[in-house]
Point group: C2
Chain length 321, copies 2
């Protein structure tokens, strides 16, 4: 099975490459990378693992893109959705190339398509384009990564592994969300893209469901430390989102400004609204990996906690990754 | 089962009332109508058939609306989607009232959610609102009505029944679309809203699939007349849509101006793009009534043709209905 991955050197992309190369299915994996990135260590690393590398810009390269995607069974896109042009270009080329299944860049939490998260709305525009051209697809969302769902310890003991920590609780901390180890995402993808039941469907891949209080309790228990539980009300988080989005709309357009309201939107959706629960995902039309693959062996959240405490945690979005 | 219908005096609404009252299920039916419409013959007619009538505006009446919808199992909306405010107001009130299933105003052809038909995009905004508030729902689309899929005969013999005729063929007339008798829609609705399998799903209800040439051939055969087959190319219909939409955007805002591009968009989607086929609907996520209710007894398209020729056809959108 020929699989092309776009965005292979990002966090999700690397998990997908690992999942495909580690699978019992014989995937022939190609990665499309920017010509400017061809000599980057991350690209050379996947090349050395047997991934074919194609250097190609995605926009205004329609004919080359169609040629590259011709013969590919599956295309997996793991690019940021802030600039939609590459997404539209890829989907249109995949359609023309006869790609049998297209995995657009979702890989987020379960969330209603409009009115909650700007990022989800951008993804919806890509999904709608796919549907307009009848490109066979599977949307894969993955819940919240273990790697960013954890508060810092007062001792600073696990700071080494926390690029982003989650130090506040929504309301009383009793709200729940689905969590997934970033390292499992690729394994889910390898399973999902070889499964006919998931064609033209949405799949919610997740490992476990935890409340914030359960996360705090468990981390307190295994660390022996007391972790503050600073509460954020729905009103506070909504006000933060409105404030930062207003500033962004008024001209504060840096990537940090963008994250300034995107990150609180995630927090609001995942914890306050509890959008990211399996039953909510099912309401929204997702199949779940629990129903599809009851035998799937995933990394338990408790295992991840133990790694953190032992010092073997790995930070995400680290410069040297 | 308590069912409230909004828009009960429109074409789709009347079919729904007929379907509910004629069903073997014991539906207790209520219709919400505008206070200004309370004395209209159409309203008095359904009242005389045992439908409870409630006169209430839909916008800025949230508390009354919640009170009226409390205890209702199902709310069916068959209103035009040009003004979205009543749709948002109804859905929000239904959520607060604990309505078990909400049927938003779809009742159109199968069509991708964006980029093809403005009407479909408006409906999507309502569906997205429903999903944002996790209101239990079923979207029901119904293909193209028999009643508007037929060309006029040169003799004028069937003009009496054709409020809108369909006198042109897309390209060579070989393209196909799903067709449904307007009178069957309510019967489908009665079946779908009592079916747990259709909760939080999209259902495509249709009777048969015909090409335009098959429609022309059959009508020629039973009438003995030769019917012109004026072809419209994709380029022509797209140019018409762009032209009329531009005029609308520039200020020609009458209802006729609106229909001026909405009607060609339907034609383009249903015949040129063939969006309205069962396999396309399935791709878009619909369950179909053929799969759900293989025993469903519908009015055959040939029966409808025979009625037209015999003089027992009934025009739609007629003033005296």
């Amino acid at each position: 099975m020929n699989v092309t991955v776009v965005g292979a050197s990002g966090e999700t992309g690397r998990s997908i490459i690992d999942g495909l190369l580690g699978s019992s299915t014989d995937f022939k994996v190609t990665a499309i990378v920017r010509p400017a990135s061809i000599n980057k260590p991350a690209v050379q690393k996947i090349k050395s693992r047997g991934v074919s590398i194609i250097a190609l810009e995605l926009v205004n390269t329609h004919e080359e893109l169609v040629k590259v995607l011709t013969g590919q069974d599956v295309v997996v896109v793991a690019l940021e959705p802030f600039d939609l042009e590459p997404h539209f270009a890829l989907a249109s080329a995949a359609k023309e190339a006869g790609v049998k299944r297209y995995i657009p860049s979702a890989f987020g939490s379960s969330c209603p398509p409009a009115g909650v998260m700007m990022l989800r709305e951008l993804k919806e525009r890509v999904i709608n384009h796919i549907k307009k051209i009848y490109l066979p697809y599977t949307v894969i969302d993955v819940g919240m990564w273990y790697q960013i769902a954890i508060p810092r310890l007062p001792s600073g003991k696990i700071d080494y592994a926390l690029t982003y920590s989650s130090d506040q609780v929504a309301e009383d901390g009793e709200r729940a969300s689905s969590v997934t180890d970033l390292r499992d995402i690729g394994k889910y993808v390898a399973r999902i893209i070889t499964d006919e039941r998931t064609l033209n469907q949405y799949v919610f891949a997740y490992n476990e469901v935890w409340t914030q209080n359960q996360i705090w309790d468990h981390l307190e228990k295994i660390s022996g430390e007391k972790i503050p539980r600073t509460s954020v009300s729905s009103e506070e988080i909504k006000a933060t989102i409105v404030d930062r989005q207003t500033k962004y709309n008024e001209g504060a357009k840096s990537y940090q400004d963008l994250l300034g309201f995107v990150v609180p939107q995630y927090f609001y959706s995942e914890w306050h609204r509890e959008d990211n629960l399996p039953e909510r995902a099912k309401y929204l039309g997702y199949l779940t990996t629990k129903d599809l693959y009851p035998d799937f062996e995933y990394i338990k959240f408790e295992t991840f906690f133990d790694e953190l405490i032992k010092g073997s945690g790995v930070p995400v979005y680290a410069k040297n990754n």
